[in-house]
Protein backbone atom coordinates (compact mmCIF):
# COMPACT_ATOMS: atom_id res chain seq x y z
CA UNK A 1 0.00 0.00 0.00
CA UNK A 2 1.34 3.48 -0.80
CA UNK A 3 1.90 6.04 1.93
CA UNK A 4 -0.96 8.09 0.55
CA UNK A 5 -3.34 5.23 1.34
CA UNK A 6 -2.16 5.34 4.91
CA UNK A 7 -3.33 8.84 5.51
CA UNK A 8 -6.90 9.79 6.16
CA UNK A 9 -9.15 11.62 3.73
CA UNK A 10 -11.46 14.32 5.05
CA UNK A 11 -14.35 11.87 4.81
CA UNK A 12 -12.47 9.34 6.91
CA UNK A 13 -11.47 11.92 9.51
CA UNK A 14 -15.12 12.91 9.82
CA UNK A 15 -16.27 9.27 9.93
CA UNK A 16 -13.79 8.28 12.65
CA UNK A 17 -14.06 11.53 14.60
CA UNK A 18 -15.62 9.87 17.67
CA UNK A 19 -12.60 7.55 17.90
CA UNK A 20 -10.00 10.20 17.19
CA UNK A 21 -11.21 12.60 19.87
CA UNK A 22 -10.77 9.99 22.62
CA UNK A 23 -7.42 11.08 24.15
CA UNK A 24 -6.24 7.48 24.75
CA UNK A 25 -7.12 6.47 21.20
CA UNK A 26 -6.47 9.36 18.81
CA UNK A 27 -5.50 9.43 15.15
CA UNK A 28 -2.54 7.14 15.83
CA UNK A 29 -4.74 4.23 16.91
CA UNK A 30 -7.13 4.90 14.07
CA UNK A 31 -4.23 4.66 11.64
CA UNK A 32 -3.19 1.34 13.18
CA UNK A 33 -6.71 0.07 12.50
CA UNK A 34 -6.47 1.21 8.91
CA UNK A 35 -3.17 -0.59 8.43
CA UNK A 36 -4.42 -3.79 10.06
CA UNK A 37 -5.53 -6.99 8.36
CA UNK A 38 -8.04 -8.97 10.38
CA UNK A 39 -9.43 -12.41 9.54
CA UNK A 40 -12.88 -13.34 10.82
CA UNK A 41 -13.44 -17.10 10.68
CA UNK A 42 -17.17 -17.77 10.53
CA UNK A 43 -19.63 -15.03 9.56
CA UNK A 44 -22.49 -16.38 11.66
CA UNK A 45 -23.70 -15.49 15.15
CA UNK A 46 -20.34 -14.28 16.44
CA UNK A 47 -18.93 -13.15 13.11
CA UNK A 48 -21.93 -10.93 12.33
CA UNK A 49 -21.47 -8.38 15.13
CA UNK A 50 -17.68 -8.67 14.99
CA UNK A 51 -17.69 -7.89 11.26
CA UNK A 52 -20.18 -5.04 11.59
CA UNK A 53 -18.24 -3.32 14.37
CA UNK A 54 -14.78 -3.88 12.91
CA UNK A 55 -15.96 -2.58 9.55
CA UNK A 56 -17.58 0.43 11.16
CA UNK A 57 -14.46 1.01 13.24
CA UNK A 58 -12.31 1.26 10.13
CA UNK A 59 -10.10 -1.83 10.09
CA UNK A 60 -8.32 -1.48 6.72
CA UNK A 61 -8.52 -5.04 5.45
CA UNK A 62 -10.98 -7.66 6.61
CA UNK A 63 -10.94 -11.28 5.49
CA UNK A 64 -14.06 -13.42 5.89
CA UNK A 65 -14.02 -17.22 5.91
CA UNK A 66 -17.32 -19.06 5.49
CA UNK A 67 -18.51 -21.87 3.24
CA UNK A 68 -22.20 -21.59 4.11
CA UNK A 69 -25.18 -19.98 2.44
CA UNK A 70 -27.66 -17.74 4.26
CA UNK A 71 -30.60 -19.70 5.66
CA UNK A 72 -33.93 -18.63 7.22
CA UNK A 73 -32.88 -20.08 10.56
CA UNK A 74 -29.77 -17.85 10.65
CA UNK A 75 -31.69 -14.60 10.89
CA UNK A 76 -32.64 -15.09 14.57
CA UNK A 77 -29.08 -14.01 15.46
CA UNK A 78 -26.94 -13.41 12.38
CA UNK A 79 -27.70 -9.71 12.08
CA UNK A 80 -25.42 -9.26 9.10
CA UNK A 81 -27.99 -10.84 6.78
CA UNK A 82 -31.55 -10.14 5.69
CA UNK A 83 -34.33 -11.97 3.89
CA UNK A 84 -33.06 -10.89 0.47
CA UNK A 85 -29.84 -12.83 0.96
CA UNK A 86 -31.37 -16.23 1.76
CA UNK A 87 -29.72 -18.94 -0.32
CA UNK A 88 -26.72 -16.78 -1.22
CA UNK A 89 -23.15 -17.42 -0.06
CA UNK A 90 -22.60 -15.79 3.32
CA UNK A 91 -19.26 -14.23 2.40
CA UNK A 92 -20.83 -12.43 -0.56
CA UNK A 93 -23.91 -11.34 1.38
CA UNK A 94 -21.61 -10.11 4.16
CA UNK A 95 -19.48 -8.13 1.73
CA UNK A 96 -22.51 -6.38 0.22
CA UNK A 97 -23.78 -5.33 3.63
CA UNK A 98 -20.36 -4.29 4.95
CA UNK A 99 -19.34 -2.32 1.86
CA UNK A 100 -22.53 -0.32 2.23
CA UNK A 101 -21.51 0.37 5.83
CA UNK A 102 -17.94 1.48 5.14
CA UNK A 103 -16.51 1.92 1.62
CA UNK A 104 -13.02 2.56 3.05
CA UNK A 105 -12.55 -1.09 4.02
CA UNK A 106 -11.10 -3.74 1.71
CA UNK A 107 -12.70 -7.18 1.96
CA UNK A 108 -11.09 -10.49 1.06
CA UNK A 109 -13.49 -13.40 0.73
CA UNK A 110 -12.64 -17.02 1.45
CA UNK A 111 -15.72 -19.00 0.42
CA UNK A 112 -14.33 -22.26 1.76
CA UNK A 113 -14.36 -24.80 4.57
CA UNK A 114 -11.26 -23.98 6.58
CA UNK A 115 -9.30 -27.20 7.07
CA UNK A 116 -5.80 -28.52 7.68
CA UNK A 117 -5.02 -28.22 3.97
CA UNK A 118 -5.85 -24.53 3.52
CA UNK A 119 -5.75 -22.93 7.00
CA UNK A 120 -2.12 -21.78 6.96
CA UNK A 121 -2.48 -20.33 3.47
CA UNK A 122 -5.68 -18.47 4.41
CA UNK A 123 -4.40 -17.12 7.74
CA UNK A 124 -0.78 -16.28 6.93
CA UNK A 125 -1.25 -12.75 5.56
CA UNK A 126 -3.40 -11.45 8.41
CA UNK A 127 -2.30 -9.71 11.61
CA UNK A 128 -5.08 -10.90 13.90
CA UNK A 129 -7.60 -13.75 13.74
CA UNK A 130 -11.03 -13.83 15.38
CA UNK A 131 -12.47 -17.31 15.75
CA UNK A 132 -16.25 -17.46 15.52
CA UNK A 133 -16.65 -21.03 14.33
CA UNK A 134 -19.07 -23.60 15.65
CA UNK A 135 -17.33 -26.89 16.33
CA UNK A 136 -14.42 -28.33 18.27
CA UNK A 137 -12.28 -29.60 15.36
CA UNK A 138 -12.22 -26.12 13.80
CA UNK A 139 -11.51 -24.50 17.19
CA UNK A 140 -8.38 -26.63 17.61
CA UNK A 141 -7.44 -26.16 13.95
CA UNK A 142 -7.63 -22.36 14.21
CA UNK A 143 -5.76 -22.44 17.51
CA UNK A 144 -2.90 -24.54 16.17
CA UNK A 145 -2.69 -22.63 12.89
CA UNK A 146 -2.42 -19.30 14.74
CA UNK A 147 0.29 -20.77 16.99
CA UNK A 148 2.29 -22.09 14.03
CA UNK A 149 1.96 -18.72 12.25
CA UNK A 150 2.51 -16.66 15.41
CA UNK A 151 -0.78 -14.72 15.22
CA UNK A 152 -3.01 -13.59 18.09
CA UNK A 153 -6.37 -15.38 18.13
CA UNK A 154 -9.38 -13.59 19.61
CA UNK A 155 -11.62 -16.41 20.76
CA UNK A 156 -15.35 -16.28 21.42
CA UNK A 157 -17.77 -19.13 21.95
CA UNK A 158 -21.45 -19.48 22.88
CA UNK A 159 -23.91 -22.17 23.82
CA UNK A 160 -27.52 -21.68 24.91
CA UNK A 161 -27.07 -18.98 27.61
CA UNK A 162 -23.31 -19.27 28.16
CA UNK A 163 -20.59 -17.20 26.50
CA UNK A 164 -16.78 -17.32 26.67
CA UNK A 165 -14.10 -14.89 25.48
CA UNK A 166 -10.30 -14.87 25.62
CA UNK A 167 -7.32 -13.60 23.63
CA UNK A 168 -4.94 -16.43 22.80
CA UNK A 169 -1.28 -16.41 21.79
CA UNK A 170 -0.93 -12.69 22.43
CA UNK A 171 2.58 -11.32 22.95
CA UNK A 172 2.48 -8.32 25.27
CA UNK A 173 4.68 -5.20 25.20
CA UNK A 174 7.22 -6.95 27.44
CA UNK A 175 7.50 -9.80 24.90
CA UNK A 176 5.69 -12.33 27.07
CA UNK A 177 3.43 -14.73 25.21
CA UNK A 178 0.03 -15.59 26.71
CA UNK A 179 -1.76 -18.95 26.82
CA UNK A 180 -3.89 -20.49 24.07
CA UNK A 181 -6.90 -22.78 23.68
CA UNK A 182 -4.86 -25.96 24.27
CA UNK A 183 -3.64 -24.54 27.59
CA UNK A 184 -7.23 -23.86 28.59
CA UNK A 185 -8.77 -27.08 27.26
CA UNK A 186 -6.09 -29.69 26.43
CA UNK A 187 -8.54 -32.06 24.75
CA UNK A 188 -12.03 -31.72 23.32
CA UNK A 189 -15.11 -33.48 24.64
CA UNK A 190 -15.98 -36.75 22.91
CA UNK A 191 -18.49 -36.29 20.09
CA UNK A 192 -22.08 -36.25 21.26
CA UNK A 193 -21.40 -35.26 24.87
CA UNK A 194 -21.63 -31.53 24.23
CA UNK A 195 -24.31 -30.61 21.69
CA UNK A 196 -23.77 -27.89 19.08
CA UNK A 197 -25.90 -24.74 18.88
CA UNK A 198 -27.67 -26.32 15.89
CA UNK A 199 -28.81 -29.07 18.26
CA UNK A 200 -28.84 -27.37 21.66
CA UNK A 201 -29.82 -23.85 20.63
CA UNK A 202 -28.54 -20.41 21.55
CA UNK A 203 -30.31 -17.23 22.64
CA UNK A 204 -29.87 -14.95 19.63
CA UNK A 205 -28.65 -11.88 21.47
CA UNK A 206 -25.87 -13.79 23.26
CA UNK A 207 -23.58 -14.15 20.20
CA UNK A 208 -24.34 -10.46 19.63
CA UNK A 209 -22.76 -9.69 23.00
CA UNK A 210 -19.86 -12.13 22.73
CA UNK A 211 -19.07 -11.25 19.08
CA UNK A 212 -19.02 -7.57 20.04
CA UNK A 213 -16.54 -8.35 22.82
CA UNK A 214 -14.37 -10.11 20.24
CA UNK A 215 -14.46 -6.95 18.09
CA UNK A 216 -13.43 -4.93 21.15
CA UNK A 217 -10.48 -7.22 21.84
CA UNK A 218 -9.41 -7.20 18.17
CA UNK A 219 -9.26 -3.41 18.31
CA UNK A 220 -7.23 -3.49 21.55
CA UNK A 221 -4.80 -6.06 20.15
CA UNK A 222 -4.26 -3.94 17.01
CA UNK A 223 -3.95 -0.55 18.67
CA UNK A 224 -2.24 -1.52 21.92
CA UNK A 225 -4.81 0.55 23.78
CA UNK A 226 -5.81 -0.97 27.12
CA UNK A 227 -5.13 -4.49 28.37
CA UNK A 228 -6.25 -7.29 26.05
CA UNK A 229 -7.94 -10.31 27.62
CA UNK A 230 -4.76 -12.37 27.42
CA UNK A 231 -4.05 -14.81 30.26
CA UNK A 232 -7.61 -14.27 31.33
CA UNK A 233 -10.78 -16.11 30.45
CA UNK A 234 -14.14 -14.33 30.54
CA UNK A 235 -17.38 -16.24 31.00
CA UNK A 236 -20.89 -14.82 30.84
CA UNK A 237 -24.04 -16.48 32.12
CA UNK A 238 -26.87 -14.61 30.43
CA UNK A 239 -29.54 -16.37 32.49
CA UNK A 240 -28.35 -15.05 35.86
CA UNK A 241 -26.43 -12.11 34.42
CA UNK A 242 -23.21 -13.19 36.02
CA UNK A 243 -19.78 -12.80 34.55
CA UNK A 244 -16.47 -14.05 35.83
CA UNK A 245 -12.92 -13.52 34.63
CA UNK A 246 -10.52 -16.32 35.46
CA UNK A 247 -6.73 -16.41 35.30
CA UNK A 248 -5.28 -18.89 32.84
CA UNK A 249 -1.66 -19.84 32.22
CA UNK A 250 0.53 -21.48 29.62
CA UNK A 251 1.29 -25.15 30.22
CA UNK A 252 4.56 -26.95 29.73
CA UNK A 253 2.76 -29.97 28.31
CA UNK A 254 1.08 -28.00 25.50
CA UNK A 255 1.79 -30.17 22.44
CA UNK A 256 2.13 -27.21 20.07
CA UNK A 257 4.11 -24.63 22.01
CA UNK A 258 4.93 -26.21 25.38
CA UNK A 259 8.30 -27.44 26.53
CA UNK A 260 8.51 -30.45 24.21
CA UNK A 261 6.24 -29.75 21.25
CA UNK A 262 5.03 -32.82 19.37
CA UNK A 263 2.74 -31.04 16.90
CA UNK A 264 4.76 -29.08 14.35
CA UNK A 265 2.22 -29.01 11.55
CA UNK A 266 -1.54 -29.12 11.32
CA UNK A 267 -3.06 -32.51 12.10
CA UNK A 268 -6.35 -34.27 11.33
CA UNK A 269 -8.66 -32.40 13.70
CA UNK A 270 -11.71 -34.56 13.04
CA UNK A 271 -9.68 -37.51 14.22
CA UNK A 272 -8.25 -35.54 17.16
CA UNK A 273 -11.80 -34.72 18.25
CA UNK A 274 -12.81 -38.36 18.01
CA UNK A 275 -15.13 -37.86 15.06
CA UNK A 276 -13.56 -40.83 13.32
CA UNK A 277 -13.06 -42.96 16.40
CA UNK A 278 -14.29 -46.52 16.08
CA UNK A 279 -14.77 -47.10 19.79
CA UNK A 280 -18.49 -47.72 19.34
CA UNK A 281 -19.80 -50.14 16.80
CA UNK A 282 -21.28 -48.39 13.78
CA UNK A 283 -25.03 -48.41 13.26
CA UNK A 284 -26.68 -49.21 9.95
CA UNK A 285 -27.32 -46.16 7.80
CA UNK A 286 -29.67 -45.30 5.00
CA UNK A 287 -29.33 -42.38 2.59
CA UNK A 288 -32.15 -39.91 1.97
CA UNK A 289 -32.49 -41.12 -1.61
CA UNK A 290 -32.77 -44.76 -0.53
CA UNK A 291 -35.40 -43.81 2.06
CA UNK A 292 -37.35 -42.08 -0.68
CA UNK A 293 -37.10 -45.26 -2.80
CA UNK A 294 -38.52 -47.24 0.11
CA UNK A 295 -41.34 -44.71 0.53
CA UNK A 296 -42.43 -44.76 -3.11
CA UNK A 297 -41.93 -48.50 -3.59
CA UNK A 298 -44.54 -49.39 -0.99
CA UNK A 299 -41.98 -51.35 1.04
CA UNK A 300 -43.18 -52.20 4.54
CA UNK A 301 -41.09 -50.27 7.05
CA UNK A 302 -41.54 -47.75 9.86
CA UNK A 303 -40.16 -44.23 10.07
CA UNK A 304 -39.47 -42.76 13.53
CA UNK A 305 -38.76 -39.05 14.08
CA UNK A 306 -36.84 -38.42 17.33
CA UNK A 307 -36.82 -34.61 17.15
CA UNK A 308 -38.76 -32.29 19.46
CA UNK A 309 -42.44 -31.38 18.87
CA UNK A 310 -41.43 -27.78 18.02
CA UNK A 311 -39.25 -29.07 15.19
CA UNK A 312 -41.92 -31.52 14.02
CA UNK A 313 -44.25 -28.53 13.57
CA UNK A 314 -41.81 -26.87 11.16
CA UNK A 315 -41.34 -29.78 8.81
CA UNK A 316 -41.84 -33.53 8.80
CA UNK A 317 -41.47 -36.37 6.33
CA UNK A 318 -44.07 -38.82 7.53
CA UNK A 319 -42.30 -40.21 10.59
CA UNK A 320 -43.94 -40.98 13.92
CA UNK A 321 -42.79 -38.44 16.52
CA UNK A 322 -41.00 -39.98 19.52
CA UNK A 323 -38.54 -37.41 20.98
CA UNK A 324 -35.12 -38.82 21.86
CA UNK A 325 -35.57 -38.31 25.61
CA UNK A 326 -38.67 -40.56 25.60
CA UNK A 327 -37.49 -43.19 23.15
CA UNK A 328 -36.94 -45.97 25.71
CA UNK A 329 -40.42 -45.43 27.19
CA UNK A 330 -41.97 -45.85 23.75
CA UNK A 331 -39.99 -48.86 22.59
CA UNK A 332 -43.31 -50.75 22.49
CA UNK A 333 -44.29 -48.69 19.43
CA UNK A 334 -41.16 -49.70 17.53
CA UNK A 335 -41.40 -53.07 15.76
CA UNK A 336 -38.66 -55.69 15.72
CA UNK A 337 -39.89 -57.56 12.66
CA UNK A 338 -39.70 -54.92 9.90
CA UNK A 339 -37.03 -52.39 8.95
CA UNK A 340 -37.20 -49.17 10.97
CA UNK A 341 -35.63 -45.88 9.87
CA UNK A 342 -34.87 -43.38 12.63
CA UNK A 343 -34.25 -39.72 11.82
CA UNK A 344 -33.66 -36.37 13.48
CA UNK A 345 -32.46 -33.02 12.10
CA UNK A 346 -28.89 -33.92 11.16
CA UNK A 347 -28.38 -37.54 12.20
CA UNK A 348 -26.79 -37.27 15.66
CA UNK A 349 -29.83 -37.66 17.92
CA UNK A 350 -31.15 -40.51 15.79
CA UNK A 351 -27.78 -42.22 16.20
CA UNK A 352 -28.09 -41.90 19.98
CA UNK A 353 -31.67 -43.23 19.84
CA UNK A 354 -30.57 -46.27 17.82
CA UNK A 355 -27.69 -47.03 20.19
CA UNK A 356 -30.02 -46.79 23.17
CA UNK A 357 -32.64 -49.04 21.57
CA UNK A 358 -30.04 -51.59 20.45
CA UNK A 359 -28.45 -51.68 23.90
CA UNK A 360 -31.60 -51.85 25.98
CA UNK A 361 -33.93 -53.83 23.76
CA UNK A 362 -31.65 -55.71 21.36
CA UNK A 363 -32.96 -54.23 18.11
CA UNK A 364 -31.06 -55.18 14.95
CA UNK A 365 -33.42 -53.71 12.34
CA UNK A 366 -32.80 -49.98 12.87
CA UNK A 367 -31.38 -47.66 10.19
CA UNK A 368 -30.10 -44.14 10.82
CA UNK A 369 -31.11 -41.59 8.18
CA UNK A 370 -27.74 -40.18 7.15
CA UNK A 371 -27.68 -36.38 7.47
CA UNK A 372 -31.19 -36.36 8.98
CA UNK A 373 -34.17 -34.48 7.65
CA UNK A 374 -31.82 -31.78 6.29
CA UNK A 375 -30.27 -34.29 3.91
CA UNK A 376 -33.74 -35.51 2.93
CA UNK A 377 -34.81 -31.94 2.12
CA UNK A 378 -31.63 -31.30 0.12
CA UNK A 379 -31.70 -34.55 -1.84
CA UNK A 380 -35.38 -35.45 -2.13
CA UNK A 381 -37.77 -32.61 -1.37
CA UNK A 382 -36.06 -29.20 -1.63
CA UNK A 383 -39.46 -27.47 -1.41
CA UNK A 384 -39.78 -28.40 2.28
CA UNK A 385 -38.82 -25.89 4.97
CA UNK A 386 -35.22 -26.03 6.24
CA UNK A 387 -34.45 -24.74 9.72
Amino acid sequence: MSTQDMEFSKEELARYNRHIIIPEFGEESQLKLKKAKVLIIGSGGLGSPALLYLTAAGVGTIGIVDFDVVDDSNLQRQVLFDIHEIGKPKVEAAKRRLEALNPHVKFILHNAHINSGNALEIIKDYDVVADGTDNFPTRYLVNDATLLLDKPNVYGSVFQFEGQVSVFNFVNAAGVRGPNYRDLYPTPPPPGLVPSCAEGGVLGVLPGIIGSLQALEVIKVITGVGEPLSGRFFTFDALNFENRTFNIKRREDNPVNGKNPTIRELIDYEQFCGMRAVEEKPVKEITAKKLYDWQVSGKKFKLIDVREPSEFKIVQIGGELIPLATIADHAGQIPHDIDVVVHCKAGIRSLKAIRELEEKFGYNNLYNLKGGILAYIDQVQPELTRY
Binding site: G44, D134, S196
Partner: protein, 92 residues
Amino acid sequence: MATVIIPTPLRKFTNQTARLQIEAGTVGEIIEKITLDFPELKKHLLDPQGSVRSFVNIFSGDDDIRDLQQEKTPVNQSTVISIVPAIAGGKR
Protein backbone atom coordinates in the same frame (compact mmCIF):
# COMPACT_ATOMS: atom_id res chain seq x y z
CA MET B 1 -20.06 -24.04 53.11
CA ALA B 2 -18.33 -23.46 49.81
CA THR B 3 -20.37 -22.25 46.84
CA VAL B 4 -20.29 -24.17 43.57
CA ILE B 5 -21.42 -22.38 40.41
CA ILE B 6 -22.94 -24.77 37.88
CA PRO B 7 -22.69 -23.55 34.26
CA THR B 8 -25.90 -23.28 32.25
CA PRO B 9 -25.19 -26.35 30.05
CA LEU B 10 -24.92 -28.60 33.12
CA ARG B 11 -27.90 -27.23 35.04
CA LYS B 12 -30.21 -29.78 33.49
CA PHE B 13 -28.41 -32.31 35.70
CA THR B 14 -28.84 -30.24 38.89
CA ASN B 15 -32.59 -29.57 38.66
CA GLN B 16 -31.72 -26.18 37.13
CA THR B 17 -29.89 -25.12 40.29
CA ALA B 18 -27.21 -22.54 39.47
CA ARG B 19 -25.47 -22.47 42.86
CA LEU B 20 -24.89 -25.30 45.26
CA GLN B 21 -23.73 -24.94 48.85
CA ILE B 22 -21.39 -27.79 49.74
CA GLU B 23 -19.68 -28.62 53.01
CA ALA B 24 -16.20 -29.86 52.10
CA GLY B 25 -12.50 -29.43 52.81
CA THR B 26 -11.11 -29.81 49.29
CA VAL B 27 -12.16 -29.41 45.67
CA GLY B 28 -12.01 -33.21 45.34
CA GLU B 29 -14.55 -33.64 48.14
CA ILE B 30 -16.83 -31.11 46.48
CA ILE B 31 -16.73 -33.03 43.21
CA GLU B 32 -17.41 -36.28 45.03
CA LYS B 33 -20.41 -34.81 46.85
CA ILE B 34 -22.04 -33.14 43.86
CA THR B 35 -21.63 -36.22 41.67
CA LEU B 36 -23.25 -38.29 44.43
CA ASP B 37 -26.12 -35.82 44.78
CA PHE B 38 -26.49 -35.48 41.00
CA PRO B 39 -25.27 -38.74 39.40
CA GLU B 40 -25.94 -37.46 35.86
CA LEU B 41 -23.23 -34.84 36.39
CA LYS B 42 -20.61 -37.53 36.83
CA LYS B 43 -19.99 -38.50 33.22
CA HIS B 44 -19.73 -34.82 32.28
CA LEU B 45 -17.20 -33.99 35.00
CA LEU B 46 -15.12 -37.14 35.44
CA ASP B 47 -13.49 -39.59 33.08
CA PRO B 48 -13.89 -43.35 33.64
CA GLN B 49 -10.78 -43.27 35.87
CA GLY B 50 -12.40 -40.65 38.11
CA SER B 51 -10.20 -37.70 37.11
CA VAL B 52 -11.64 -34.33 36.11
CA ARG B 53 -12.10 -34.37 32.34
CA SER B 54 -9.65 -32.23 30.38
CA PHE B 55 -12.44 -30.32 28.64
CA VAL B 56 -13.88 -29.23 31.98
CA ASN B 57 -12.09 -26.55 33.95
CA ILE B 58 -12.57 -26.04 37.64
CA PHE B 59 -11.66 -22.72 39.13
CA SER B 60 -11.28 -21.94 42.83
CA GLY B 61 -11.95 -18.23 43.05
CA ASP B 62 -10.30 -16.83 39.92
CA ASP B 63 -7.66 -19.55 39.56
CA ASP B 64 -7.56 -22.85 37.72
CA ILE B 65 -7.14 -25.71 40.20
CA ARG B 66 -4.44 -27.11 37.87
CA ASP B 67 -2.38 -24.07 38.93
CA LEU B 68 -3.20 -24.73 42.60
CA GLN B 69 -3.23 -28.20 44.17
CA GLN B 70 -5.56 -29.87 41.66
CA GLU B 71 -8.32 -31.82 43.46
CA LYS B 72 -6.44 -31.38 46.76
CA THR B 73 -6.93 -27.61 46.61
CA PRO B 74 -8.38 -26.62 50.01
CA VAL B 75 -11.71 -24.82 50.19
CA ASN B 76 -13.32 -22.84 52.99
CA GLN B 77 -16.64 -21.14 53.75
CA SER B 78 -16.00 -18.27 51.37
CA THR B 79 -14.56 -20.27 48.45
CA VAL B 80 -16.43 -20.02 45.17
CA ILE B 81 -15.84 -22.96 42.85
CA SER B 82 -16.74 -22.50 39.16
CA ILE B 83 -17.14 -25.35 36.72
CA VAL B 84 -16.51 -24.23 33.14
CA PRO B 85 -16.85 -26.84 30.37
CA ALA B 86 -15.64 -26.25 26.83
CA ILE B 87 -18.34 -24.97 24.45
CA ALA B 88 -17.81 -24.48 20.75
CA GLY B 89 -20.85 -22.72 19.29
CA GLY B 90 -20.81 -19.48 17.38
CA LYS B 91 -21.53 -19.79 13.71
CA ARG B 92 -24.61 -21.93 13.07
